[in-house]
């Protein structure tokens, strides 16, 4: 059980929304990962759909590179689409 691989869990809270990362868990295979995700992360009606992905399959950015990756965006407010009027019907932007 200690050797079970780690899985990342993504839950879609409502139809029409995107899946969001909500946590991780251990499971021996994909079927068990789905069942475990259902039991651990959707007990309080959090979701209508689940994705599980082996954590090992995720390529992550290196925290040491944060300065060059992310800081250059800090002073470029003009990239935020804050100058548009959004219609009221548009939720979840």
């Amino acid at each position: 059980m200690k050797n079970w691989p780690l899985w990342e869990v993504f839950i879609r809270s409502k139809n029409g929304l995107e899946h969001r990362h909500c946590g991780s868990l251990h499971a021996s295979d994909a079927t068990m990962a789905l069942e475990n995700a259902r039991d651990v992360y959707t007990r309080r009606m959090e979701g209508v759909s689940i994705w599980v992905v082996p954590s090992a399959q995720i390529t992550a950015s290196n925290p040491d590179d944060s300065a060059e990756l992310f800081e250059p965006a800090k002073d470029k407010v003009y990239r935020h689409p804050t100058f548009y009027e959004l219609p009221d019907e548009l939720k979840h932007m």
């Binding site: 059980m1 079970w4 868990l25 068990m32 475990n36 039991d39």
Partner: protein, 250 residues
């Protein structure tokens, strides 16, 4: 009529209460966090179903009866659950095998019970089917995984199935109340579920590379209120708070 109906409901609901209590013992002791939560979820599903049944019984019985007095204040002989569900947890193989055997039966029962001519019972059955379908999937998957897993997991799950097999036949026995309720269109004739039960169980055991035990003598008694030696300890745990602090609330 009313007494038979109450006894009939006990025959169904007490299974879920006692199994729910048994699985509840594992809360915080599951083999992994994920399995622990999964088993506890199942326990809560069962206790939720029990509440609906007992609330109905309380209404039928009247007087001072409530779901709590029915759950906590009966004597051992007044509980009508089958022997299978009161068997101790031992290890995960036993817990999951007990769950598997009960789930297959439970789902078959509910599928028929939703056609009951009693509206309340039919409604409880309809609501419970979704929960029990998941229980069945969960426990069947574990049987496959452990049966077709390592040599040790295979041997241990086979041992548990062999041990619990003696308690399967009782699931299909009828009490006097059962027979009366079947005649009234309220109850399910469990004798008719027997073939499908063994067929389904055998198919999954075969898939899991496990043997179906061959047995000629089976245990029985729970349905009549004659329980195994484990039941007293279980009830002591279950009833302790209400017996020690009568009418307590929290």
């Amino acid at each position: 009529m009313k007494d038979n109906l109450v006894q009939y409901i006990f025959g169904i609901a007490d299974n879920s209460l006692i199994l729910g209590q048994r699985i509840g013992e594992l809360c915080g002791h599951g083999p992994s966090l994920e399995t622990d939560i999964a088993m506890t979820n199942i326990s809560l599903d069962l206790l939720g179903q029990v509440r609906s049944y007992y609330q109905y019984v309380a209404k039928l019985v009247g007087n001072e009866a409530t779901e709590d007095t029915i759950a906590f204040l009966r004597k051992e002989r007044e509980y009508k659950n089958v022997l299978l569900v009161e068997q101790p947890n031992q290890d995960f193989a036993y817990s999951i095998s007990r769950q598997f055997l009960f789930d297959i039966f439970h789902l078959l029962l509910l599928e028929q019970l939703q056609n009951s001519s009693d509206d309340t019972i039919s409604a409880i059955a309809k609501k419970s089917i979704k929960e029990v379908s998941y229980h069945t999937r969960f426990s069947s998957d574990w049987i496959r995984r452990l049966g077709d897993g390592t040599e040790e997991s295979h041997n241990r799950i086979q041992e548990a199935i062999n041990h619990l097999w003696a308690f399967t036949d009782e699931l299909f026995h009828q009490t006097h109340a059962d027979i009366t309720m079947v005649a009234d269109g309220i109850g399910v004739d469990v004798t008719k579920l027997k073939d499908s039960f063994y067929k389904k169980v055998n198919a999954i055991l075969l898939e899991s590379t496990l043997n179906t035990p061959e047995l000629h003598y089976f245990q029985k008694g729970g349905k009549q209120g004659v329980h195994s030696e484990h039941m007293g300890y279980l009830l002591a745990d279950l009833q302790y708070m209400q017996r020690t602090y009568p009418n307590m609330n929290w």
